[in-house]
Amino acid sequence: MAFNLILFYLFAAIAVGTTLLVVVQSNPVHSVLLLIGSFIGLAGLYVLLEAPFVAVIQIIVYAGAIMVLFLFVVMLLNAPREAIVRSSMLESGATRAVGALLALAFAAELAWALTRSRTLAMSHAGDTPAFSVPQIGQRIFQEYAFAFEATSILILVAMVGAITLAGRHLSKNDQGHNG
């Protein structure tokens, strides 16, 4: 149905456009917000792919939590616009040129891979019913239980690590209680 395709192109356009802007923006705050925009576009694509659960998760966690974190940090550091360090300009310039080339090469490779991949064959297998949240939840807590627990531990570790890394100065002037 064409409507679906139109939506796809709409969201895709949002995603790509905002992402491009994210990369070229010089003001970090704007980058963050644009990235949120791209997330929302992706969420739309997820809905098109009949994964509303992931779509919402995407918005809650990515847009709602992680990006707030970024925004805070940006505001906290009152991030300056692209400070250019003269000293390391040269090799940094060289590496960046190489990097750009490599990125293009990678894109080319991906395109090539697509042209000769067999995925075209199954491109219309997409008439399977969407998965309900309970289905997904049950699989997560049964087959993927271990991964789930591991992730939770990972998050705990990350929390501790982040606090020790960023909150050190607080404890130094011992005002750690509101850290």
Binding site: H30, P52, V56, I59, L71
Partner: protein, 341 residues
């Protein structure tokens, strides 16, 4: 393409929009009146009978004002912030049903739900939109480049993030009970029973209701948790620099958020449109009544309770409310497992 059902849905959409706007206006009036009564005053009386037109006057006044923008402000974001707030406030309401399915007395060949969109992850949707609402405030505070605004913004965002957790936990408990994420489903799960009342989740989730309302008040930055605009310390918090319509938008957003929270609370705990004595197609009256009561409760609380201290607020949120909500969730889950509720 343009069949009656679609028309009906568009109509509903329009209705919700208007209703929200007017409810905001109504809130302004009620707030003033109740405040006045609580303080032994008359409140607005001049404009219209009983000062009923006072909100209108306010809006006109606001619209007439000049829209000032600080020079140092970030133009785009400064303009964007209020829009985000308002938009989030509206979108959150989209998934809230305010009445049973109806065919409008056979006007339609298939019944339509009295709600904008019946998403099957509605709760998560509400949650997501609320979390997006933070941006409006943060950006407002940051972009207007003034210390009061920034402080207010940081405060309120920190506050909202902290209380979102308890908020979500309380929601989760209800999910466990009803087994669905669609708010309509939840409401239907509360129908029936004695006088259509005995099945409300309020009876099963008193603690949850308490947590939800407290967190909701914090989420909407209302007294006694109204730090973002603690006028004694921060002038007006994140919207200090705003004026005219852009200020009106924040204003609007705040009231609509209150309405949304009350509406969700109604649907989750107070059985939505379920109520005694009224035929189902009039259920929306019950819904409005309950929401209205909760809104009154908001105002009542604002003028009764003093404002907390900020660290008290944080301590309360993290050290009391969150653990309590976790326990509540665990107990609920255990109960469901045990009694198979």
């Amino acid at each position: 393409m343009l069949n009656p059902v679609v028309i009906a849905q568009l109509a509903i959409l329009l209705f919700v929009f208007v209703m929200l706007l007017s409810s905001a206006a109504g809130m302004v009036y009620m707030e003033r009146k109740v405040a006045a009564r609580i303080q032994q005053r008359m409140g607005p009386t001049l404009v219209g009978p009983y000062g009923l037109l006072q909100p209108l006057a306010d809006i006109i006044k606001l619209a007439m004002k000049e829209d000032v923008r600080p020079k140092a402000a970030d133009p785009i974001l400064f303009a964007l912030a209020p829009i985000i707030s308002a938009a989030c406030a509206f979108t959150a309401f989209a998934v809230v049903p305010f009445g049973a399915e109806t065919t409008f007395f056979g006007l339609l060949d298939q019944p339509v739900p009295l709600q904008v969109a019946d998403v099957n992850v509605a709760i998560l949707w509400v949650f997501a939109v609320t979390s997006m609402g933070v941006y409006g405030i943060v950006l407002a505070g940051w972009s207007s480049n003034s210390k009061y605004s920034l402080l207010g913004a940081l405060r309120s965002s920190a506050q909202m993030i902290s209380y979102e957790l308890s908020y979500g936990m309380a929601l989760a408990a209800v999910l466990v009970l009803s087994g669905t994420m669609s708010i309509r489903g939840i409401v239907e799960a509360q129908s029936g029973g004695l006088l259509d009342v005995s099945h409300w989740f309020l009876w099963l989730q008193p603690v949850g209701f308490f947590i939800f309302m407290t967190a909701g008040v914090a989420e909407t930055n209302r007294a006694p948790f109204d730090f973002p605009e603690a006028e004694q310390e921060l002038v007006a918090g994140y919207h200090t620099e705003y004026s005219s319509m852009s200020f009106a938008m924040f204003f609007l957003a705040e009231y609509i958020n209150m309405v949304t929270v009350s509406a969700i609370a109604t649907s989750l705990y107070l059985g939505g449109w379920n109520g005694p004595f009224l035929p189902e197609w009039l259920g929306w009256i019950w819904f409005l009544a309950k929401v209205g009561f909760l809104l009154f409760f908001y105002v009542w609380m604002r003028w009764t309770l003093p404002r907390y201290r900020y660290d008290q607020l944080m301590a309360f949120g993290w050290k009391f409310l969150l653990p309590l909500s976790v326990v509540n969730l665990l107990v609920t889950a255990a109960g469901v497992l045990y009694f198979g509720l």
